[in-house]
């Protein structure tokens, strides 16, 4: 079990963490790592059914289209490409072979959607107007409010 905790000094308007997005090549301990991008702009988004990366990441990593998908967003329907990546989370866990969609997501690099969030225990508290965000993998359940 591995837990990540982020404490804000204020009431957060979004849950943002760092993350690592990597070309979905084979990873071996000690070997050279595939090209990757470190970002501090990964938003955890329970309103997203899928995980989305920005066109900037696709371009920087030179990702190759894996498939074509369609989704419905605030701006209407979009037909977009999907890509295979590994996503490193700040708790030291890496999600291998994650298929993500690509779309303009403002100044975020990564929207971590429900496909990943549901692999975790995910908790937000806001005592005294200060937001604390925690997640852990694998899920252990047992959190009751």
């Amino acid at each position: 079990m591995s837990t990540f905790k982020k404490e804000y000094d204020v009431q957060a308007s979004a849950v943002i963490t760092n993350a690592l997005v990597m070309v979905a090549d084979e990873l071996k301990e000690g070997a050279e790592f595939p090209p990757c991008v470190y970002t501090e702009n990964a938003a955890w988004d329970t309103g997203a059914e899928i995980t989305i990366i920005s066109p900037r990441l696709v371009e920087t990593l030179g990702l190759v289209t894996h498939n074509k998908g369609e989704f419905m967003g605030i701006g209407g329907d979009q037909s977009v490409s999907t890509y295979m990546v590994h996503i490193g989370l700040a708790n030291g866990k890496m999600i291998y072979n994650e298929e993500v969609y690509c779309s303009d997501i403002d100044d975020y690099d990564l929207l971590i959607g429900m496909d990943i969030i549901t692999q975790t225990d995910f908790l937000i508290t806001n005592k005294d107007g200060k937001t604390t965000f925690q997640f852990r993998t694998p899920s252990e359940g047992g959190i009751e409010l």
Partner: protein, 63 residues
């Protein structure tokens, strides 16, 4: 827990909503896979420890 269908005003404790600053740009997201379209199956996906070197390099430089 209260029965919302049959609740009366006095059953609720009132909490004032926060004031919005509408002069600021806000972000709102809601993304759903379009029904009937291609949907990832995540069949080869797995979650495991990140290689230690990678974790140290990017997340815990001092460790």
């Amino acid at each position: 827990m209260i029965d919302l269908k049959n609740a009366k005003l006095e059953d609720f404790e009132l909490i004032e909503a926060p004031k919005l600053d509408t002069s600021k740009k806000v972000r709102c997201t809601f993304f759903r896979v379009k029904p009937g379209s291609y949907k990832p199956k995540y069949k080869n996906r797995r979650i495991a420890d990140m290689p230690k070197e990678l974790f140290r390099e990017y997340f815990q430089k001092g460790v």
